[in-house]
Amino acid sequence: MSDQLDLTAYENKSLLRFMTSGSVDDGKSTLIGRLLYETNCIFEDQFAAVEKTSHQRGDDRVDLALLLDGLAAEREQGITIDVAYRYFTTARRKFIIADTPGHEQYTRNMVTGASTSELAIILIDARHGVMTQSKRHGFLISLLQIPHLVVAVNKMDLVDYGEEVYQKIVKEYSEFSQKLDIHDISFIPISALDGDNVTTRSEKMPWYQGHTLLHMLENVHVSADKNFVDFRFPVQSVLRPNLDFRGFSGTISSGTIKVGEEVAALPSGKESRVKSIVTYDGDLDEAFAGQAVTITLEDEIDISRGDMIVRKNNLPLVGNEFDVNLCWMDEEPMNPRSHYLLKHTTQKVKAYVSGIQYKIDVNTLHREDADQFTLNEIGRVTIKTARPLFFDNYRVNHGTGSFILIDPLTNRTVAAGMIRGQARDVEQVMRTQHASNRQSTNIRWEGGVVSMADWERRNGHKGAVLWCTGFSGSGKSTVAKALVKSLFGQGCQVMMLDGDNVRHGLCGDLGFSDQDRSENIRRVGETAKLFYEQGNIVVCTFISPFQADRDFVRSALPEGAFHELFIKCDLEVCKRRDPKGLYKKALAGEIKDFTGIDSPYEEPANPEITVETDLHSVEEIVAELEVYLRQLKILQ
């Protein structure tokens, strides 16, 4: 780094926030110390100090872990007791590390560190293999929806750099991770102590063909993880410096917005247009998620802190009772009878825990009954608020799907919550399923001559996207073809998008990695949207194993337009059917990443409709689907 720098490159770096977790002995501090050291982010005097301490202790090597111990108490105990933030930089990226302890009593700290991380590193000691806590960390990372996980198998020097040891850990952890909701997992064998595969390729592990850890950190693509679809602008404050200016300041939680776009303020529902997007550095034409801006509107409407500005045709959910995953963070246990203050986006509202479904044993992932949560416990509860909140599912929107609970007596932050959705009992579910007043939002075709309403009037039915998801061989295509044929016969404007067909052309450049699968679904979703907007009933048949991808397509469409059809069939039946002979190949190892064999399938959490092809005939199912379409007035 002593060479003359390209300072411009340094100014245009991107930023990656990641967390590291592992137990006291997994070598986490050594790894971070190594990253800081190798990227020249340790200063000479700091290095001299740890060198001195190492020698005093009688170590023959400089203990890089000593660079990280912050507080006197833990220096004495030799352990990390809290989340500490560390920084290093390369010419490509600045890195913020949330360094969190791994032992049991500090789940709270790990959740805290995870909440702002875009990537997580789990360290596994090669000698000990996959331990309970490695699984616990994976579970928490999945719960907090960190999009990228790197499993670093450390201390390879102590197992003679053996590939078998490494492969065994990879296999075991991969199997475990199928139970989790993590889309991108990579593995890497390292020795943090000696630096193998940390910033430079290890000569001692020629069998490892992948990238170094630093290379992964520098290159992981994170901007695509953000939600740029659903515009959500929680108002932080109303800025009124003089009589001529009234603006709404805040940070855009998700989505994008342009000057001139139609917006609505919640909860009032008043509509207006964006007049300007003001910043100190000049007005913007367009702003996007993560930007802190001040928005002015064409009309004088009453908006205050805690309100949310959104696009008229893309609204968040609203409700005062919802299902959440909750992590309890206070010494004082949860009291289901007391009121807490819930801070969500920029507002605070009184709330209480109205029901506890279960707590999760983070070691076994088993669900257990509970009357309350104590420190470091996690589980599913129902929260009721004094007034309705505007929120989204945490999975699709971290900003509007997360909250904290504050104890009004102690002012402490006692819990962190991730919203799963509206609390629904059976009766409500039935009502939604058969709601006859469900209507597709009015969409204007940008610059088009023919409006969606015109299309629908001529077609004699409404547009809809019917998304069939299920295992290969579950009967998606069979059901879809029969449905399309029947609808065609009734004069419907119908369109079918099938997994195999798009793979030939539209998505011919994509493979079957998790990332490519997601991209495949994204393209299909966008295509379906275009046809939907011209009034078609679009029947899509895709394995689409990940809820996040299906949710993405849902979020890209107006509310009520997307119908998730879960084509349910026992995996064993699918394997027996094996219409394309794919299961046979996958089981023989000829195809990799095959859903149901060595790649996970996430069953839909709340599908609009579920059909079971191993129990009912195709004709019965088609009839059932048409009844559903009539109930929703998609068909007349």
Partner: protein, 308 residues
């Protein structure tokens, strides 16, 4: 989608602005601590951005020990006037009158009297419930665990083991009457980030940061400008004599009180030079600040007592 990305500086800036707006919305009477250094200068620019087109709705407060460099006082008064901010200056006058000095009391006690005591007195006097500080987590080991919102009891004390967890961008600003909160909007910035931002934003600074030839006396690796020798060593304890004077190119990497701030050898006369130097640096920024060296845990001790 690639157009919806921000550089690291832009992301840090947006985070700081979000925090400042949150503080103004949640607290009744915030203040921004102003130490006249580069971090304060950066914080002020962020405050200007956060509340544009208005002025930032809180005063600046300089806790003056009386030992700051003359260039700092001059710059402070001019800059505050230029940006139209309100400045409060507070000191522990009693201690200053008694001649409190590190060479007489020891560094720790001197800081305790002139900084911590003065700061806590000023916060109580004005009834501030939130005070922005420019501290960064990369400055010092115990600061690495500091929160954005750091709750202090009625004596301004920090309890590192009893901190509130901070999740997502949801900050808990609730406190009881006598408590207050220190806010650190630059927590995630590093020294390099600050310098890059100063360059990008063209932020004015005290000239002491830039190198020039200065008459100095070197003592135990610390470079003391000759003109300040009497302030550093009022009682002549160090026994330094004029024949030790050397003319060296030097600058100040961070600015504190004259007796506790040494210069470093440097030829950096521009921001670009400084950035190059920071990237090359193998010495940490506060090293020339004598206050951190007393014991391995000295900063943590000070923080517990209510210093920053």
């Amino acid at each position: 989608m690639s157009s919806y990305t921000m550089t690291h500086l832009k992301q840090l800036e947006q985070e700081s602005i979000h925090i400042m707006r949150e503080v103004v919305a949640e607290f009744k009477n915030p203040v921004m601590l102003y130490s006249v250094g580069k971090d304060s200068a950066t914080m002020i620019r962020l405050a200007q951005k956060a509340f544009h087109p208005g002025k930032f709705p809180f005063p600046l407060m300089h806790v003056d020990t009386g030992y700051k460099f003359p260039e700092m006082y001059e710059f402070r008064d001019r800059h505050v006037k230029d940006i139209g901010a309100r400045l409060i200056v507070e000191s522990n006058q009693e201690a200053i009158d008694k001649g409190t000095h590190p060479s007489r009391l020891g560094n720790d006690k001197c800081c305790q009297q002139l900084k911590t005591h003065a700061l806590l007195g000023a916060i109580a006097k004005h009834g501030f419930d939130a005070a922005f500080g420019g501290a960064r987590r990369d400055e010092e080991k115990s600061r690495a665990k500091e929160r954005f919102f750091s709750v202090r009891d009625e004596f301004g004390q920090w309890d590192p083991k009893n901190q509130r967890p901070e999740l997502w961008n949801l900050y808990n600003a609730d406190i009881d009457g006598k408590e207050s909160v220190r806010i650190f909007p630059l927590s995630n910035w590093t020294e390099l980030d600050v310098w890059q931002y100063i360059k990008l934003e063209n932020i004015p600074l005290v000239p002491l940061y830039f190198s020039r030839m200065r008459k100095t006396i070197e003592m135990g690796g610390i470079i003391i400008p000759h003109e300040y020798l009497d302030t550093v060593d009022p009682d002549g304890k160090l026994g330094l004599t004029d024949d030790q004077i050397q003319e060296v190119a030097c600058r100040f990497r961070s600015l504190g009180c004259i007796p506790c701030t040494g210069a470093v050898r440097s030829t950096a006369t521009s921001i670009d030079d400084i950035i190059q130097e920071v990237v090359d640096a193998r010495r940490s920024e506060r090293e020339n600040r004598i206050i951190d060296l007393t014991s391995d845990s000295s900063m943590e001790q000070k923080k517990r007592e209510g210093y920053f």
